[in-house]
Symmetry: D2
């Protein structure tokens, strides 16, 4: 039977411990390399947006808002600075419903659309579909594509809000962090001090209104460590692609970082000359705008593995 790490009760959530990733908070659990665990996660609203209570209503009622709480820190035995933490995403168990909100002051088109109105919508999740009910009343079905929005490790000395992505992972909102794929994160502290939350049942590229279909979830992961393997930014590997996930402002810098990481990966692991890799990516790479709503923006650069037989 798989061990389950429970999320903290709502009453115990604390901004310093649960809404940051950093080295200052003692671990809530320890896992061993190779171990499979189930982890319960809070949704990005910290549980306060539920049928009968929109985000605006929760604010109006003075309910304490826990911003994007993560479950963690989880200590990974044997992880040391300079290693790479590998997180294999085995499964995400979704609830029956998720929430999406427009929150004025937040979102990619803030100031670009006139009359931005606060609104919250709940979508049923059933039979592999998210059922979005448009204002006109029609149900529009979208295939579920669950992934972990916020997932990362401790930076070396900073405690970073779980709203922000970075080299440590965090709020990347990257749909490729999904069941079947492996996420790699650079370890900066002993034990890695891993945390996660903010699962999305489905999300569009850019997550433009600032939220996706936000859900609490149960996530099944297997942990592993690549000893002495140092990476600069999160990486993802699927059956078919290698991917780098970088965050910056402006957005082109996130893209440049992600492509440079791909060049480095092709050079280090597949023997490509760096100029050759640069030119080849200009012909064959794919990119995804993960999100343009958080403190740094996130781009995923991708290359199919079928191109990657060793060059040298």
């Amino acid at each position: 039977m798989v061990r389950r790490i429970e999320r903290k009760p709502w009453e115990d959530l604390d901004p310093m411990r649960d809404s940051t990733l950093g080295p200052y908070t003692p671990p809530i659990a320890t896992v061993r390399p190779g171990e499979v665990v189930e982890i319960e996660t809070w949704d990005a609203f910290g549980g306060v947006v539920v049928p009968g209570q929109t985000y605006a209503e929760a604010v109006a009622r003075g309910i304490k808002l826990h911003v994007n709480p993560v479950t963690g820190p989880i200590e990974v035995e044997g992880a040391e600075p300079g290693d790479t933490l590998v997180v294999e995403i085995l499964d995400i168990e979704l609830p029956e419903r998720g929430a999406t909100a427009i929150i004025p002051g937040f979102g990619a088109l803030e100031g670009w659309l006139r009359q931005l109105e606060p609104r919250t919508k709940f979508s049923r999740i059933s039979g592999g579909k998210v059922v979005y009910v448009a204002d006109g009343g029609e149900a529009v079905e979208i295939d579920v594509a669950p992934f972990i929005g916020t997932i990362g490790v401790s930076p070396e000395s900073e405690a970073i809000t779980t709203i922000s992505p970075g080299p440590h992972g965090g709020n990347m909102d990257c749909p490729d962090v999904r069941p079947g794929n492996r996420l790699m994160l650079p370890v900066s502290r002993p034990g890695a001090l891993f945390g996660l939350g903010d699962v999305h049942a489905v999300q569009g590229d850019g997550e433009i209104c600032g939220t996706a279909v936000e859900v609490p979830a149960v996530v099944t992961l297997r942990f592993d460590i690549l000893k002495g393997r140092r990476i600069g930014w999160p990486r993802v590997e699927s059956e078919e692609e290698i991917m780098t996930v970088c965050s910056a402002r402006p957005l082109e810098d996130a893209a440049r970082l992600a492509y440079r990481e791909l060049v480095d990966w092709m050079a280090a692991d597949y023997g490509w000359n760096r100029m050759d890799a640069y030119m080849f990516l200009s012909l064959a790479a794919r990119a995804r705008i993960a999100q343009i709503v958080d403190p740094l923006y996130t781009v995923v650069a991708k290359l199919p593995k079928r191109y990657l037989e060793r060059q040298a």
Copy 2:
């Protein structure tokens, strides 16, 4: 038999006439709405990069460089400011070889990779594949995916270099401008004054080294006009998706523009409330980074049509 519009001989190319899109150059041909024509195009190097002569060698030999020459202006009968020009891409005929170059001073990783070296590579195009020969000697095959890199109409009063994209189209380097799809462009001058060139046999997202597999080509198009239909930026329609193509710096502004255009399209043509459209795109939109190497950067925002039955 289809009428063919020939490209100008190399000796007659002129920067003012052939490397800008604008209202100052007399048309070289006139087409009627509904007419199908074949158009010959120059490659982005203006024909000087050929086996035995790299880009750097052409420069060193003092050969006159015609930057991204287009075939045009082509006058479309009956097109008036405020109309939309529809260009249906029926076919692109590729040559047997294309060229890719790294040109120091140009490209997304200029200043991000150490020791950027000028280099030119020729790739064979055959059997639906581009055959890239890596430095290690191995041939890597990429499926051809030809599209028109530079395609646009005249702005109202500016003459804009064919290196730049904009609301008028131009150097969008958008792989979705491909056979089977329809491109819509906002008409700003009588006759639209259409031009095109810069076909790519295949391109990665971002076109990061600054060039793709650059080819001269013969393109078959059908023209049409939507009278009195005013759009702000280029749009593309495929069998399955609607797409908006916007260009700006920084890149997030290109994304914001493209998403706002999608919101407007959903509101105007499909009856969606704009806030509802904004929220729905946050769940279901796709985006492509077309290029991050030209004077403005280009993003394509997309929504599957299957979601788009009328809401009101």
Copy 3:
């Protein structure tokens, strides 16, 4: 007596000829190197904002709006591509009143301030002061500091809207282009094809609402040519400082360009090692945000001449 070049009558203004800088428009006058001329200029509103008619009213009344018309092209005898045009600003004669407008959809805080309202205000200019009447009724006096907002030459092949700045000059909105200073512009076409307009009686750094105290004016200039002296971007020289004026998006790229031009200037004319110049500017340079409202943003980087005795 000084020759006067008159501005075109309002009825004759034409967007292609008068609201672009480019090589496609025949000159309206020719000047000789060394010659002093007076030139009449239109204000940025093209003369339609006058007491009794705000910008919004002019739009509502359907009056034709000529956007930022310039007086030109003026041909400078003997100027050839690769030369530098020197324009010494001898005098600016102001009218008795100027106009400032907030135009929703335009301006640096568009989308950053709630409830942006269109408004136009007229300020009296008298005794060396601009008299701004605040909403509360109080008159606030600002010292006049007149300068030429839009001033430039023809690009090589583009016709660029007079709304935009660039390497050719244009709408730089740089308060250092003022009486007593010399502006240098890179010549790209025979005769330079110079134009100017958009005088401001005074302007804050950034020109944040999108307009300054906009005035028609009479400007007295002396022209000169530096033969065979090639520069990349506009430069200004005052009694005390050398300055470079560069435009880009994002704003940091304008700053980087301007500082790189200063490094190049220090190396070429004053014998500084480029690394040494780079380090010294980090201690002693000054910068001005000229404007953050036009299609490209403008930064002026400055170094006092007293630091600049020859190093090699």
Copy 4:
């Protein structure tokens, strides 16, 4: 006699405690409102760049680098979240020498100048002058203009590296934080948890090579609290000007934030209508690019107080 708060010995410096600003570190001292204290500060290099040891040599020798250590946290009695901390800068005592370094991989022209070389230069500070010795051997004198480069309070839940500026202050590199001026900071934690370091003897706008004349120093400050006065970003007040100091990427966002804060200040304290303030700043504001080298870029927007008599 004035109380002195000593900086930690070099051996005791710790990245988590001394190179972040945050709520996780216990205070090293407590001050009372109204109290004047002298505080010793480390230079930005953490003391390792000294005559006989350049930055590159310190790295090569494997010396532990403490990045921009601050002296703190200093608890201010009675400061509560929602208050404003006022720090009056009374004096900065400079040493006899400061260091400037070009560090490849860092600085505004990284990737913009070819062949960036590591170099360190020491400048004598004497008689109110910084004496920079140019490569050609000539001594160039710059007037000293000392200020505190890094100064801030704890964020609410994050621990932020002292390399970064933000709403909490931090590495703003703002030359207006100088003797004679008052800095205001938003309090987010009980006791404010104040820290400072990184004094510069003089700095150019933008701090473009990434460093200024970096010095250890002794700073004399008076602390005060504005109870229940909530501000969003650091503010500075001099005899003649009010100033807002905001940090973001891209740089135009820093400028927009700083100008919006000025609009808010004019509205709240001087009774200006916000649209009127926006327009007036377009005529009379000044701005400074403080730095474009840190994780966020910093702009200071300024308005002379003489314009600010009450409007309502």
